[in-house]
Symmetry: C2
Subunit: 336 residues, 2 copies
């Protein structure tokens, strides 16, 4: 890479002249500006933005750390962050923690040294299990604010955006009970995540409020053959007339398994799942879904961070927690 | 953030002593090293890695630019890049171009100024349509190598990793013809992408080699209701006995639509689609798939870049193009 110094030498002018010419300073004559710019272009000269950012202490860039890029919900949140950031004139750079505490720490350190102004992140599974929060606190102490979304560390004082997971399954279960469903099952492949546990508790609460049914839960492991397990579950519990699914695929598989066994959906079995609109298309009838508004979660998180960076809050001491409510979008897999 | 200078002042030693102490230099006494480190920790001092990288000209970080984070295939490639990079001691930071030429240029500039040593990227749709390549060439001219994967710019001299899209659908179609399928249709939601066009051509070639069938293609738009369109397509073409799907969802929808209309799968209609293993579970029988080995594509791309960064090639002038072959994984949606 060519430097200002080399350009100056070749043109036989001072470094400051080159710098001013590149910045269109009025102190420099038109002819010189033209000569400098032509040579700079010839040599592919670009001002070193990193060096600039060290001076100005502003990168206009947000660091995003997400635990799992194969998770469609997280990918959509990232999309929402990206869109909001762009609208406000910020770039984003993303690191993936792969659910590892170590990688999360590394990503924070990598980006905290001059590359970004602050962070939007979702806490890694391992970090949640170990209850480690010092790396977050250290980052904030360095002057880089953090906004956490979805999986948050309650011990860290920072802005947060969360989902009403508990309420979502509570309401979905209630809506089935209102339609006289008497044996509603809960199927989940995300029992190991905090949000999975919250969803199961919301279902449990609704079930236990009715005296005539015990909770009926099928927890699938990541390695399980979901089709086989759900088929066996239906065979064992013949009176199931409703299914709440906590993840993005077991609701679809439940419908297809029910149809395959000769049940009518929704007449014999109603199904509601957490899933995106595009996946809800993978069954006929379409899956009724609990929508999480991932885009909005991302947009809110970016908005909170940028407001803090631009000091739009009244008080430095105040932190915000936003709840993005899910909505129940009923399709033909549930009785109207 | 505290600086070396401030630490030196407080400890009443020279800046160079602080720097050497932090780097465990043998020139500095044990006691001093201890004092310096304690104070540095107290003030959360971290060496400014960006400044270091400017000096050493090595960041051990790879910039990844992907066009669409909601695309599961691209997310999986990113996962593969991340894993290989970690294994080799490199970090990755990712930018999303959102299929926009402008954003792709911005991402290259943002990261090229000291944050990364080189790039792994998949070309944005708009860039492909406009045929723009100068931003790639400029980046390479600055000394930052690029490896392109999946969607590549053939006019740019660099390392590449591509998929055998044409061969994949050609072979899948041939395999159905061998099972005496006479009316094989092609359904695609990605007709606007270069890989989508290649897949259609592979199908066309196989069909045109047999004299008894004309190509029968359904191109879906992103906004279309796929279930409705596929249902109407089956109604119009009653003799369809095979479907090749170019994207990750229309194969699943084709099976479910066929079952819904009372067809038997695979007896009446065989279906093969480009999809991941987890999505292949969304139909009963399971969808037979063309697997793209996204992980391997990512690992190969990272490997090529790191080898180039570490100058493991014999010649600087030589560029490599690796082809990662797809495999046909037959499940119960096709006759054995």
């Amino acid at each position: 890479m060519v430097t200002l110094k080399q350009l100056a030498k070749e043109l036989n002018v001072s470094i400051s002249t080159v710098s001013k010419a590149l910045n269109n300073s009025e102190e420099i004559g038109e002819e010189t500006v033209k000569r400098v710019k032509e040579l700079a272009q010839l040599y592919n000269y670009t001002p070193n933005k990193v060096a600039l950012s060290l001076k100005q202490n502003k990168t206009k860039t947000i660091g995003v750390i997400i635990p799992d890029i194969l998770n469609h919900f997280l990918a959509k949140v990232l999309f929402g962050i990206e869109r909001e950031a762009t609208k406000r004139g910020y770039n984003i750079i993303t690191c993936i923690s792969n659910e590892s505490l170590e990688k999360e720490k590394e990503a924070l350190e990598l980006l905290a040294n001059g590359s970004v102004d602050g962070f939007v992140l979702c806490v890694a599974e391992e970090t949640q299990i170990e209850g480690e929060v010092n790396h977050f606190k250290r980052t904030i102490a360095k002057g880089l604010p953090i906004v956490m979304f979805d999986r948050v560390a309650h011990d860290v004082l920072c802005d947060k955006v969360i989902v009403d997971d508990f309420d979502a399954t509570y309401r979905a279960t209630k809506s089935m009970q209102l339609k006289k469903r008497k044996n509603i099952a809960f199927i989940s492949r995300i029992n190991d995540l905090s949000v999975g546990k919250l969803r199961e508790r919301g279902y449990n609460k609704a079930i236990l409020e009715e005296s005539n049914q015990e909770p009926l839960v099928l927890n699938l492991k990541k390695k399980d053959d979901s089709q086989q397990k759900i088929k066996a579950f239906f065979k064992k519990h013949k009176n199931i007339d409703g299914v709440i699914s906590a993840d993005s695929s077991s609701g679809i598989i439940a419908i297809n398994t029910a149809l395959n066994k000769g049940y009518k959906v929704p007449k014999d079995i109603s199904v509601i799942g957490f899933a995106s609109k595009s996946v809800s298309n993978h069954s006929i009838p379409r899956l009724s879904i609990i929508r999480q508004h991932a885009n909005q979660i991302g947009a809110n998180a970016a908005d909170l961070l940028i407001n803090r960076l631009e000091k739009k809050f009244d008080e430095e001491i105040e932190f915000k927690t936003k709840i993005v409510k899910t909505s129940l979008v009923l399709s033909k897999s549930t009785l109207k």
